[in-house]
């Protein structure tokens, strides 16, 4: 049986939460940081046949170091296939073959919509962010999207300044109305305090589990919308010692993940 470790940092727990959403044989489109670590933890534990791809054109890379971008040199040698954006975003994602996509954002609302374009007014931005990149198509077309966010009332937002990437848009029936593929959409919102899941009917994020050290009340207070709480709400399972071993010994011996602490993931 897996034993649970006590000495971990929050980004490690979050990476493990992401890993647990991945099933064996899943096709996972990954970026850098959390997503890459989550997918790799899954691959080294319960999902050995999961296959990762990067939008730049890479399938089943065999990097010898942590990739620092989705175009990182270390993704080239040893991959199963390398093409370009059209092969990954078209031939896999738009073709409906991608099971899991990871997203993060500067603002996320209760429907799992995400803003990575602008803070403030679009034409007179307070802060101009990078834009969609692969986020919109991943949020539109991956079967399950997993969203990573900081848990405060600025990042979890009542109303986004700009909807870059669709979650459930404005609620039940909206994805269908816009013609997005059936059975797609956000599956979990993983924050530094909790795992929120999405109610199939209401299309709204509710509290599924609170991380060790946090509480239902703290989380409800830190959420800008009236957060619903699952009947079976429980503490998030801490990283198992096996998950941590994989993460620290195989995937990230340099502990790059600790930079997320500096970014507020505590």
């Amino acid at each position: 049986m897996a034993t649970h470790a006590n000495d971990y940092i929050k980004p490690e727990l979050m990476a493990c939460c992401g890993a647990r959403e991945i099933k064996d044989n899943d096709l996972v489109i990954v970026g850098t940081g959390f997503p890459a670590m989550s997918a790799n933890i899954a691959k080294y534990t319960h999902a050995p046949n999961a296959i990762m791809m990067q939008e730049s054109g890479v399938i089943d890379a065999q990097p010898k170091r942590i990739a620092l971008s989705v175009g990182d040199p270390c993704l080239n040698p040893g991959a199963a296939m390398i093409g370009g954006l059209v092969e990954i975003m078209g031939m896999f994602l738009q073709a409906g073959m991608v099971d899991v996509g990871f997203l993060s954002g500067s603002q996320v609302d209760k429907y799992g919509n995400i803003n990575t374009t602008v803070i403030g007014d679009y034409d007179h931005p307070k802060s101009r962010l990078p834009g969609s990149g692969g986020a919109n198509p991943i949020g539109s077309l991956a079967k399950k999207t997993l969203i990573i966010a900081l848990h405060d009332k600025r990042r979890l937002a009542k109303k986004l300044d700009f909807v870059t990437t669709p979650g459930y848009i404005d609620g039940p029936g909206a994805r269908e109305k816009w013609g997005l593929p059936p059975n797609t959409g956000p599956q979990a919102l993983i924050t530094n305090k909790a795992v929120l899941r999405f109610d199939k009917d209401a299309c709204e994020a509710y509290l599924a589990s609170y991380h060790p050290g946090s509480s239902v009340k703290e989380i409800v207070d830190a959420t800008p919308w009236e957060l619903k709480v699952a009947d079976d709400v429980h503490e998030t399972q801490p990283p198992t010692s096996n998950e941590l071993r994989v993460l620290r010994e195989i995937l990230d011996p340099g502990r790059l993940i600790s930079i997320y602490e500096k970014k507020g993931y505590v």
Binding site: S56, P73, I82, G84, V86, G134, P137
Partner: protein, 311 residues
């Protein structure tokens, strides 16, 4: 036909103010040598495009060369938001560029459509979001929603793009422009082939016979190409598979410099304006950052297998 020339000649002959440029690369094979030359020549009012833009586009914007950007994304990756991009959009420094927002599915498909001679292409993303609500210089032709004539479903159509000039950096090309790559492709193949003319920057010029030993590697054929520039190390601080690694330290230099308008100007003076060409750039790099740093970037050797096309 021999189309080999210097970067200076290629850019002055084939790129003019007001042009619409596709500039390929995805950290992998970023055509920095071309970017620097465009800045040096003071070319203005460009419309530029690529899926997932990075430091090279940030630099072009900061240098005041850009009027319009058909965009999906711009960041410095590991080093955060594009400083010049932000200054342009937030503060109008050096001027505010116009941005047309797409995504990393739609834009590559628009380039594919352009390369294939299609007028437009259906895509399944962007719907239900503000990407459809903001329209800039493409106006009503940014996209069209139709009911599919096949099944009546709402279908988004985006227009094909045909840039005036496509610029890419590749591992090898012959004198007439047959260009070959291996490794991450980004949107280079379709972006270049969608363009009315293509400038090839390469690590090595090889013979037509070498190209013919492995013609399946060619991504842009000679008839599309107007100039071939041999500029080794030309994608630095990006990388070229089989040649050299990404220069993360230099990325940090750029981030720090571009944090302020003044710092960016000094960076441009040192690394672009006061530099004549890629040879001078490489020399300056070695002088400034040391031969060890330069040597460390050189790729390991890990060769695959040759194949035969014979019968």
């Amino acid at each position: 036909m021999n189309k080999v020339m210097t970067a200076k000649e290629a850019i002055s002959k084939h790129v003019k103010s007001g042009d619409f440029l596709f500039i390929g690369g995805y950290i992998c094979r970023s055509p920095f040598s071309a970017i620097h030359e465009i800045i040096r020549q003071g070319i203005k009012d460009l419309t530029i495009t690529r899926s997932n833009a990075a430091d090279d586009f940030d630099m072009l914007i900061g240098a005041g060369c850009v009027k319009r950007f058909i965009a999906t994304f711009l960041s410095l990756g590991l080093y955060g938001l594009g400083r010049c991009y932000r200054r342009s959009l937030e503060k109008g420094i050096p001027h505010k560029i116009e941005v047309e927002e797409y995504s990393n599915l739609s834009l590559p498909m628009m380039l594919l459509a352009g390369a294939m001679g299609m007028p437009f292409v259906p895509v399944k993303d962007m719907v239900g979001t503000d990407l459809l609500n903001v329209k800039s210089f493409m106006g009503e032709n940014k996209y069209k929603m139709i009911d599919s004539p096949f099944d009546g479903k709402p279908t988004l159509l985006v227009p094909s793009l045909n840039p005036d000039v496509g610029i890419i950096h590749v591992q090898q090309a012959d004198e007439s422009g047959n260009a070959q790559i291996w490794g991450i492709g980004g949107d280079c193949q379709y972006g270049a082939n969608a363009s009315k003319k293509v400038i090839i920057f390469c690590e090595r010029i090889v013979t037509r016979e070498t190209i013919g030993k492995d013609p399946s590697r060619t991504i842009v054929p000679a008839p599309k190409v107007v100039a071939v520039v041999e500029d080794p190390f030309g994608a630095h601080p990006g990388y070229t598979p089989g040649f050299y690694d990404t220069d993360f330290s230099y990325g940090y230099l750029y981030q720090q410099a571009s944090n302020t308008e003044q710092g960016f100007k000094e960076f441009l003076k040192e690394w672009v304006y006061d530099i004549e060409d890629r040879s001078a750039y490489t020399k300056h790099y070695i002088e400034k950052l040391g031969y060890e740093a330069f040597k460390k970037l050189q790729a390991d050797f890990d060769y695959g297998y040759p194949v035969s096309y014979a019968y």
